[in-house]
Structure formats: C-alpha cells, structure tokens
Amino acid sequence: MNENSYLKRNRQISQKSHLKNYRNLELPPSFLFVWIGVSSTLLAILGSSCFHSGISIVFIFGLLISNLLSLYGIYSSLRFLQEQQRQINEHLAQSHKLSALGEIVTGIAHEINNPLAIIYQEVQWIQHCLSSDNPDSINEIKDSIQEVSRQVQRCRDVTHKLLEFARKRKPVTQPANLNEIIEEMVKLVEFTTVTSSPEETIKIERFYDENLPLIALDVPLIKQVILNLLINAVQAMEGKGGVIKVTTRYDGKNSVEFSVIDTGCGIPPENIDKIFLPFFTTKAPGQGTGLGLSLSYTIVHSMGGTIEVESSIGKGSQFTVRLPLKTKG
C-alpha cells in the first residue's frame, strides 16, 4: 500500500494542471537590473581585454557596482516570482474550496430532496383519500401521515448533522486509555459482523502498543471517529469478507497514532481528494450519508491531530489518525 500514496500524486496532478493557465508569466521590471548588471560586467571585461589597459580602480569599482545591481535584480525577481507563486496557491485553494462547496450543496440537496419527494407524494395521496368516500381511506391517511413524519424526521437528522458540523464543538478532554477505547469499539463491530458463512467473515486483528500512555481525549468524540473508520472498513469489504487490522503506536515523545487498515475495495484516485468532504459518498442511500469522514476530520483537527489515508484499488485502504499527547486548548 505504501507504493501508492494517491493523495500526494493527485495533488501534484491538479497543481500541474492549474499551473498551465499561468504559462505566460510576465517578467518583473527588476529583471532590467539583472540585464544591465550582467551586460555591463561583460562590457567591462570585453573593454579591459581589448584595450590592454590593466585592472584599474575604476574598473573594479564598475564591476562591483554592476554586480551589486544584478544581485539586487536577481533578489527582487525572486521576490516577484514568489509573490506570483503565492497568488497561484491562493487561487488553487480558492478553486478547491469552490468545488468543495459545490459538492456539499449537491449532497445536501440530494439528502433533502429524496424525503421531500416522498412527502409530496404522500400529501397528494392524502388529498386523494380525503376526496373519496371510501371508508378505508382513514387508515390510508393514517399510514400516509406516519410516512410523512418519518420523512420529516429524516430531513431533521440531516439538518441536525449539518448544524453539528458547523458548530465545531470545543472538545472536552479527560485522560483516557486509547487502547481500551478502541478495543471497546472493535468488540462492538465484531459483535455486529458475525456471520455463519466463512467466506463472508471479517477478521479483526489487533496490534496494540502496550506502552501507550494515557492521553487527553474527548471520549465521545474519538469514539465516533473510531466507529466511523471501522464501519467504513467493514463496508469496504462489500460482503466478501476480509481482514481489518487495528494498530496503535506511541512515538515515545509527544504523539500517538492509530490506524485502521482494511483489505477492502480501495478508493479510486479521483475520489481520494473528496472523501473528507461532507456528503461525499459512493454508497447507496441508507448505507451512507457521506458525513462520517468529514465529521471525523473535524473532530480530529479540533483535538490538534491529523487524519491521513493511503489506498490502493482492489487491495485496501489505511486510515491513520495522529493525536498529540496534550491537546492544545
């Protein structure tokens, strides 16, 4: 899996393609200094060799001035290019943000539209029932109203998650044993994935670092992250069975990390930049809302940590969360 860090590769590709638009970079005015400096040095050398006049103070002085000029020119040209680079980066970040926003909006629309369509249908059905004399229609209406309230609940869940996402709760940390917390979540997932057929069995292997110190964690928040990663790993097996490795590691200094590694379907390179966006999902409705990883990302970052992914299609994926021992307040 190490051979393929799609994330990095993808970044490079998109950066290159954006740079194409900036082919016709203008040369900075300070480039003139370089030109004057270099050409006057050349002239001075040429002049001294043509007239065999030897090295005079004036000549050395001229050489010094012209070199200083060109140094200054080079310096300010670099500054100019740096500024251009900064602008390009800003532009890049902006366009990433814009496409992310588009992605998010599409997701929300999708999540809300489906229940809305059902509600619309049910209301029409209620209207139809109201206008008929059929004695059964009261039951039909009851059914419809129940369905409507179910769908309204669905919409509310989406908006609730959105609000949660926007609220960015400040984590409340307390010293906790990460190995224990992970084991608890692993047991839970194991419990729910037991099957009778061996070819569908998902084996979970643990590699816990016994020297892991207690760390300051927001327990309910980190549990959500671990569960999300485990559920994704299980879903990545697509019912075929496989192995999930769960590891923890202490770097001996100031951070701990844990990984969830699966042998599932993997993530196509074109998706790897999108999986942390809210509402990005490749799963069927009901299987996933596309909020798991974006929530996990927000949570991990709120604790001062990082979350990284490596993946290879058909082989599997590895998600690694790194957390500082002491959370920045």
């Binding site: 307390q174 906790a176 839970l188 997932v189 309910p220 569960l227």
Partner: protein, 130 residues
C-alpha cells in the same frame, strides 16, 4: 476521594432490570434513582439535579433518543449513557452524534457501567468548571 455521592438516574421500562441495577448501584455508593419511562425521567429532571442518566434507547412512549435530545438541550452538563439492545450499532452511533457520553450494550456488566458512570461524572465536572 470525593465524599459527595454521584447522582444517577436510571431510565428503563424493564422493571426487573431497573430494580436490580438501582439496588446494585446504591450498594456501590451511588445515589441511584429509577424511573420507568422517558416522560417520568424528564419530569424528574425538571425538579432534581442529576449527574449521570442511564437511559434505555428502546422504550414505549417517548423513546430514549428523544429523551436524550431534550436532556442535551435543557441540561447540557448532565451526562447520558445509553443502553442499547445488541446489534444496534447505528443507535449507539446516533446517540454519540446527538451528545450522549457513551453507550453500553445490554445485557451490561455492572463493572462496565460503573466505570462509565465515573468517567461521565469526571466530564461533567470539567464542563461545570468552564
């Protein structure tokens, strides 16, 4: 360490379970009270301060998730530990997202519950200090 007993409200419609857990928690030094419905729990909370609520998810009437939502908005420092039937990983997940401190699968070991109550109480103290 702290000589103030932790106040625990247990909410479950299974009366046998409710009775035994309240008794066992009392024996372990907690100030435990049991009620058998979501409505009763919310009523109790209106007039009493509680540190930790042990809340069954599946109950007739107002279900555990709705009770949780109300507790989180009305008494944000009170910590909720959900009791869920086996296999309902989704219910547990949803509970965490909605602001529960933790959840335990039924049937739960008393030791596990006590450990979680203590941790949840610790969190409540941190929240109150802020």
């Amino acid at each position: 360490m702290n000589n103030v007993a932790i106040k625990v409200l247990v909410v479950d419609d299974e009366l046998d379970f409710l009775e035994t857990i309240v008794k066992r928690l009392e024996r372990r030094g907690f100030l435990a009270i049991g009620v058998s419905s979501g409505r009763a729990a919310l009523d109790y909370l209106e007039s009493h301060s509680v540190d930790v609520v042990i809340l069954d998810v599946r109950m007739p009437g107002i279900d555990g998730i709705d009770v949780l939502k109300e507790i989180v908005t009305k008494w944000p420092t009170t910590q909720v530990i959900l009791l869920t039937g086996h296999g309902s990983i989704e219910a547990g997940m949803k509970g965490l997202e909605l602001g529960a401190y933790d959840y335990v699968l039924k049937p739960a070991k008393l030791e596990d519950i006590i450990k979680k109550i203590n941790q949840a109480y610790e969190r409540k103290l941190i929240l109150e200090k802020e």
